[in-house]
């Protein structure tokens, strides 16, 4: 579950189409985007793709893969493939919801801390650091323990409410390094208000960092949610990859020969996570040209 992203980033004050083109030209970004797009489609219209009702326990249990059941059936007689397809929705929802919430918080807190400076900065930074250090997973487990089981909303709220700290730190240091840049001085001299400066002058230059924060938070949300469901602290009746793994483990699927049931949900989590990670890595390359492949000079 490690998803530490590069800590040195260069800022290019030129977001927009140039960046988009660069991303699409990058092979990693392409693979990542394709994967992500695939999952988005699965999440949007599972009914069209999945052949059966995922919860229907109507088939013969513990079947192996066949043309009717690509990944066989579960111990309860459900089609594994349909479950996978329908389960996409939950994982993507968590990824985007947590990603969005964490990013918004990270931007608000990180940029404000840097811009306000002084005591406000000191306090915000301390809070950020403390939250950063406290491992979220055990905390979420504790909450789930008291609540009996972590529902979807709880998960999103908790993961989002604690997942912003890394991004906030990075955004803060990036903002600090930009505080005295000329174009900001120019804005101040023009008499623009603080909020304007923050929103229209500073934020656009940090698009790559913001995107990275979003991708990082999404990745960690998917992994954490899956982990939580796997140990049985999620809602066992919900339809997601993590709960599939939970039920598979409960029924000793690996040992009992229902290998695909036990492995495929993990593969999906890994693929979705990989999509986010690849996009993140590609963004690093886009924003820091030094990271790209070295070019050979053609003798002319």
């Amino acid at each position: 579950m490690s998803a530490v992203t590069a800590t040195i980033r260069q800022v290019r004050p030129r977001p927009g189409f140039g960046a988009l083109r660069a991303v699409l030209g990058n092979r990693k970004a392409l693979v990542g985007s394709v994967l992500l797009a695939l999952f988005v489609v699965l999440a949007a219209v599972p009914g069209w793709i999945a052949p059966y009702d995922p919860t229907a326990e109507i088939f013969q249990p513990a079947l192996g893969p066949s043309s009717q059941h690509y990944f066989g059936t579960t111990a309860y007689g459900q089609d594994v493939y349909s479950q996978l397809v329908w389960g996409t929705r939950q994982s993507l929802l968590i990824a985007f919801a947590v990603g969005g919430l964490a990013t918004v918080l990270a931007v608000l807190i990180g940029v404000s801390a840097a811009y306000l400076g002084g005591l406000s900065d000191g306090v915000l930074s301390l809070v950020t650091d403390v939250i950063l250090v406290i491992p979220i997973f055990p905390l979420v487990i504790v909450l789930a323990a008291y609540e009996k089981n972590a529902g979807f909303t709880t998960l999103v709220v908790v993961l989002g409410a604690f997942g912003w700290s890394y991004g906030a730190r990075q955004l803060r240091s990036q903002t600090l390094s930009m505080r005295n840049r000329d174009f900001l001085q120019a804005a101040r001299v023009r008499g623009e208000r603080k909020l304007y400066v923050i929103v229209y002058e500073i934020l656009p230059t940090m698009t790559s960092l913001i995107v990275a924060t979003f991708l990082g938070a999404a990745l960690y949300a998917v992994l954490t949610a899956a982990g939580l469901q796997f140990v049985g602290l999620g809602d066992p009746n919900s339809l997601s990859w993590g709960t599939m793994l939970y039920w598979a483990e409960n029924n000793e699927a690996l040992g009992a020969g229902m290998v695909w049931w036990a492995i495929m949900p993990g593969v999906c989590v890994a693929l979705l996570g990989a999509a986010f990670a690849l996009l993140n890595y590609a963004f690093d390359e886009v924003s820091n040209p030094a990271l790209r492949k070295p070019r050979k000079v053609t003798r002319g």
Partner: protein, 325 residues
């Protein structure tokens, strides 16, 4: 008796960019005698720093250029084709470097003493005590208290850091010290004082200096000869006095016009209109022609390099006999 120390002929450097190969240094010829102070001046982006690092075989990391032609004969030895192993014998002992910003050029996690020491160890068999002695001597040479051997770069002032870099460059009293705008990170007073110190050390120890700068007035009192570069080419080479008294190339004239004398009569401040050319899309003829107040139809073919009374100029205004036409 001046002895030829460095002879550069036809040097070309290229690097790869998103838009195709770029040639920041085109066909450069350069001579340097022992003990001479040669200044290379030009606008930002004219290729002067690239030229400097090419001569020192320090281009890189990848994407920052490689030598694609020409020769660099230093102390009688061809340097352009040496590999890193061979170069290491020359490095620092005979040729050292002073960079623009000591804050960036000194390793932030090592003490000044360690950084002096590893140069010593790399090129000699000096023992610990000898190294310490030499390090102290060299710091005193530039006016830094030897106690700072234990200091880290961030603990020294800007001027001290630059002088520490110069001290480091003189560890083996090399024949040639190349300097890439070493004063531009300093204030005006510190700049002058550093220049004077460099000149004094040069007189004392006899090393040659190639000094790159965008500030002509800075080197006017210190350099022996001046090389003017524009868009990757050398456009004029002259003794400093000649250059200031009688600049030949229109670009040099334009540069000098931009620095009015504080003593002379009041006159309009003239700049050079326009901007340097895009190195990917160069004009077919003279590279300066689009901005030149004296351009004509002849400028559409590459101008010849002409010798005029010992000075060299690349301009159609002077014919092969060295006479202004």
């Amino acid at each position: 008796m001046a002895e030829r120390l460095l002879e550069v002929r036809g040097l070309r450097v290229a690097y790869a960019s998103d838009r195709g190969p770029v040639i920041p240094v085109e066909n450069v010829d350069l001579d340097l005698d022992r003990g001479e102070f040669l200044a290379i001046v030009g606008e930002s982006g004219c290729g002067k720093s690239t030229l400097l690092y090419a001569i020192a075989r320090l281009l890189g990391p990848p994407n920052a250029g490689e030598i694609i032609g020409g020769s660099i004969v230093f102390r009688g030895q061809e340097m352009a084709t040496l590999d890193e192993q061979q170069l290491r014998h020359i490095r620092w002992r005979e040729l050292s470097v002073v960079m623009q910003s000591a804050m960036n050029a000194l390793n932030p996690v090592l003490s000044i003493g360690s950084q002096l020491e590893d140069a010593c160890r790399a090129h000699s068999t000096m023992g610990k005590r000898e190294i310490a002695q030499r390090s102290q001597d060299v710091l005193r040479l530039v006016g830094i208290d030897p106690i700072h051997l234990r200091s880290y770069p961030h603990q020294l002032s800007g001027g001290m850091r630059q002088r520490a870099m110069i001290a480091m460059a003189l560890l083996f009293t090399p024949d040639l010290v190349i300097m890439d705008e070493p004063t531009s990170a300093l204030d005006v007073v510190a700049q002058r004082s550093l220049m004077k110190q460099i000149r004094e050390l040069q007189d004392r120890l006899g090393f040659a200096v190639i000094f790159v700068t965008h500030d002509m007035s800075l080197v006017s009192h210190f350099s022996d000869r001046l090389v003017v570069m524009y868009a990757g080419e050398i456009v004029e080479v002259a003794s400093t006095r000649q250059c200031f008294d009688n600049p030949l190339h229109p670009y040099t004239q334009g540069l000098l016009d931009a620095f009015p004398s504080i003593h002379g009569p009041k006159r309009r401040l003239l700049g050079i209109p326009g901007a340097p050319p895009d190195l990917v899309r160069l004009p077919a003829g003279c590279r300066f022609a689009p901005r030149c107040p004296q351009r004509s139809d002849r400028c559409e073919t590459p101008p010849p390099v002409v010798d005029v009374d010992g000075d060299v100029v690349r301009c159609v205004l002077y014919d092969r006999a060295g006479v202004a036409v």
